[in-house]
Structures are given as C-alpha cells and as structure tokens.
C-alpha cells in the first residue's frame, strides 16, 4: 500500500477497540452473578477474550499514533470513547445481555469479514485470528437467543423487551466512520458501512424470521451512532477506570 490513511485508520481502530473493550467490561459485570455456574464461566471467558482483543487493537492504534496503549484505553473522558451506542444500555437482565451480544457479535462478524485480507497487514493479520475466536462467541450467544425466543413465558417476554430497548441503536456498529472512503480506497475496508449493514441484515434476517423476532429498524441518527454515550456508560467508565485513577502512573 502506497500511503496509509493514518487518520481514518486510527478512527477505525479506535472504534473497534472501544467496542471490544466496552462489551468486554459489560460482560464481566456478570462474573459471579450469571444465572448458572456455566454461564458465569462462559461470560467471564468471553469478557477476557474481548478485553484481549481490545488490548491487541489498542496496541495497533498505539503503534500507529505513537501513543501508550494503556493511556488510550483508560485515560480518556467518557465522551471521547467511540464505541457504538448499542453498548450503552447498561447491564440489564440476562435477556438484555444476550440480545446485546447477539446483535453485536453478528455485526462484528460482518465487519471482520470486510477487513480480512485488507491492505494494512498488521490489522489483516490480527483479524484472521479474531475471526477464529469469535466463532465460539457466536455459537454460544446464538444458542441462548434461540433458547430465550423459544420459551413461551417470561424468558421470551424479557427478550422482546430487551430487543425493543436496543432497537434504535442495534445498527450503530455500522455508524459511518470519519473519512471511511479513504479506507476503502486504500484497500483496508472492503465496503462502506451502509453496505455492511445491509449484509448484516441479510445474515440475521432468517434467524429473526424463524424465531419470530422483530428486525431492528435503521438507526435514527447513524452519524451520531458512536457519540452521546449517556449515563449507563458514565457508570461503567467510572468502574473500569477506578483502579487506574486511584494511583495515576502506577504500573499494575
């Protein structure tokens, strides 16, 4: 690749790293209180995977911008994070955790496919490995979505409530990135975000139809899909930065 579009690539890496970081911390909220022991372990393992993915992505971003990856992860104000608003709804109940993870994982899979084999090798190499690990996540959350949806009582009701609460932010994984056209021209990203959103809808459509679940509508304000994080994220941010803020500059 002749020229790396540094600014646009930085925005892409930041959005992906923040997504994985925030969903990882959200899932770690279940450690100790999941409905069954196996889920306690599973959610903790998924959280560990996602935070590890975030660390690798912050590592790439740190190399690109010549900045400390830990500072990128922990030393920003809440409004400076660029994760999607799908992840801004608080822990909620188990149905919320499953609905959020299903929507996120299915969208992330489409995004990763669009980055696989891309022209910026450090990211393409990492994506190849991430795809192999994320298969386990999709298998797990897919089984839970079916289990809740097939129930004819409280579980299905709660799932429908969660999907309704998330619906306007469901597609925000595909919020357009600043100057994403530069990524496409450079061969880093295979297609623009609206096209990836279309692929995602095709991918989840059959499952939603089979389970008789309402497909999420288009995001109301896609251009603000990674902004305006709100109170739930303020709370999570205070949690995940609390150790770091307690002794600034210390190596843990």
């Amino acid at each position: 690749m002749a020229v790396v579009p540094k600014v646009a690539l930085g925005e892409l890496l930041r959005s992906m790293a923040d997504d994985e970081f925030v969903i990882g911390f959200s899932d770690s909220e279940w450690t100790g209180i999941a409905p069954i022991l196996e889920e306690d372990i599973a959610m903790s393992s998924l959280a560990q995977d996602e935070i590890g993915h975030a660390a690798a992505l912050y590592g790439l971003l740190g190399t690109l911008l010549d900045e400390d990856p830990d500072a990128l992860a922990y030393d920003r104000r809440p409004q400076e994070y660029r994760h999607c608003r799908l992840l801004d709804h608080g822990r909620g109940d188990w149905a919320m955790a499953i609905a959020r993870r299903y929507l996120y994982d299915s969208a992330d899979a489409v995004r990763l496919e669009a980055l696989a084999g891309g022209a910026w090798e450090p990211l393409a190499d990492l994506v190849g490995k991430l795809i192999r690990e994320e298969r386990y996540h999709r298998m797990h959350v897919g089984a839970w979505l079916e289990r809740l949806a097939h129930d004819d009582g409280e579980a299905r009701t709660r799932l429908l409530v969660a999907l309704r609460q998330l619906q306007h932010d469901a597609a925000t994984v595909f919020a357009p990135l600043p100057d994403e056209v530069a990524l496409i021209e450079a061969g880093i990203l295979a297609a623009p975000m609206p096209e990836l959103e279309g692929r995602w809808r095709q991918a989840i459509g059959p499952t939603f139809a089979e389970l008789d679940l309402p497909m999420p509508p288009a995001a109301a304000q896609p251009e603000r899909g990674r902004l305006d994080h709100g109170d739930a994220f303020d709370w999570l941010w205070r949690e995940f930065t609390s150790v770091r803020r307690s002794e600034p500059g210390v190596s843990w």
Partner: protein, 167 residues
C-alpha cells in the same frame, strides 16, 4: 543448564532450549509442544524468536515472554521475543508429543480443526476421556477455566474433565 559457546549456537540449540519453557497455564506442555514457536533466527548479535499466541487475549503472554528471555539468557546475547499473528495459531499446531503430554496430565487433546463445520458440532464429536479412555463423553460447557479449554463429563468413569478446544 549448559552455557553454549557463541560459535556453536544455532537454531536447533535455541529451539531445544525453548522446549524447557512451560505453558504457565498447563505446565505439562511446553511452548514448542503447543506449536507456538513460529520462527527462531540466530544472528551474530541477537536471537530473534517469533511466537504465535494461542489466543489473542491470553493473559499468560507476558509470563511466556519473560520465561523465554530468562531461558535464552544462558546464550549470552540479546534476545528479541515477538508475538505475531501473520500465521494464525490453531490447535492443529500442537505436536504429537504435546498431545500425548496433555492426555497424560488429564486434558483431552483437541480434535482436528474443521473450519467448514460449526463449532458446536466440532465440540460434540466423540472425545476420549483422558482418565479411562472411554468415548462415552458429553460436552458440558464450551468455556472452561482458561480461554483454551472446554469442560466434558465421562459417563463411563463419571468424572468431569477438560479438553483443549479445537480453534
């Protein structure tokens, strides 16, 4: 530990030394057994080692890096350890010796990876119990105490056991 003179230091000697570096999470196997050592290059002024992480978020990576540096210190030249992803590590890289060491220490080795087959189907294929050898085993959970392990139960000896995931 034997100090090798610089003149005789070659790739094979370094690889043999790396076979002493145990996986911190399953100490019965080394990083060589796991197929993590992708490249060893011995230059006049430095030893380069490229390792492939088993999982991107493996929390043992820093420990492995310092264990490699400590073990290669015997060769008395700077060591450069890198983790790379250009070749994705898969569980198919575990050597036959590594698979046997896993089994002896109570972990079922992973089945061959079949990328075209759904993960749940791969995990549900018969896994031999590392304790009694029976194939009457069932998957209990795809997630275990570390990222690379799943939990099974053996109906023959009625014991739970862990298996390395196909990944």
């Amino acid at each position: 530990m034997r100090v090798v003179t610089q003149a005789s230091l070659d790739e094979g000697t370094v690889r043999a030394a790396l076979a002493d570096v145990a996986d911190p999470e399953i100490p019965a196997v080394s990083i060589v057994d796991l197929g993590m050592v992708e490249e060893v290059r011995v230059a006049a002024d430095e030893i380069h080692v490229v390792l492939l992480p088993t999982f991107v978020g493996c929390p043992a990576l820093d420990l492995i890096r310092s264990a490699v540096e400590a073990r290669l210190r015997a060769f008395d030249r700077p060591v450069d350890v890198r983790f790379e992803f250009h070749v994705p590590w898969t569980s198919d890289r575990i050597t036959p010796e590594g698979r046997e060491r896993l089994r002896v220490s109570g972990f079922a080795p992973p089945a061959a990876v079949r990328d075209e087959v759904p993960i749940l189907v791969q995990l549900s294929a018969p896994v031999s119990c590392p304790n009694c050898g029976s194939k009457r085993t069932v998957l209990e959970s795809a997630f275990g105490p570390t990222q690379c392990r799943a939990i099974y139960h053996c109906a023959a000896c009625r014991q739970p056991f862990e298996a390395f995931k196909p990944v």
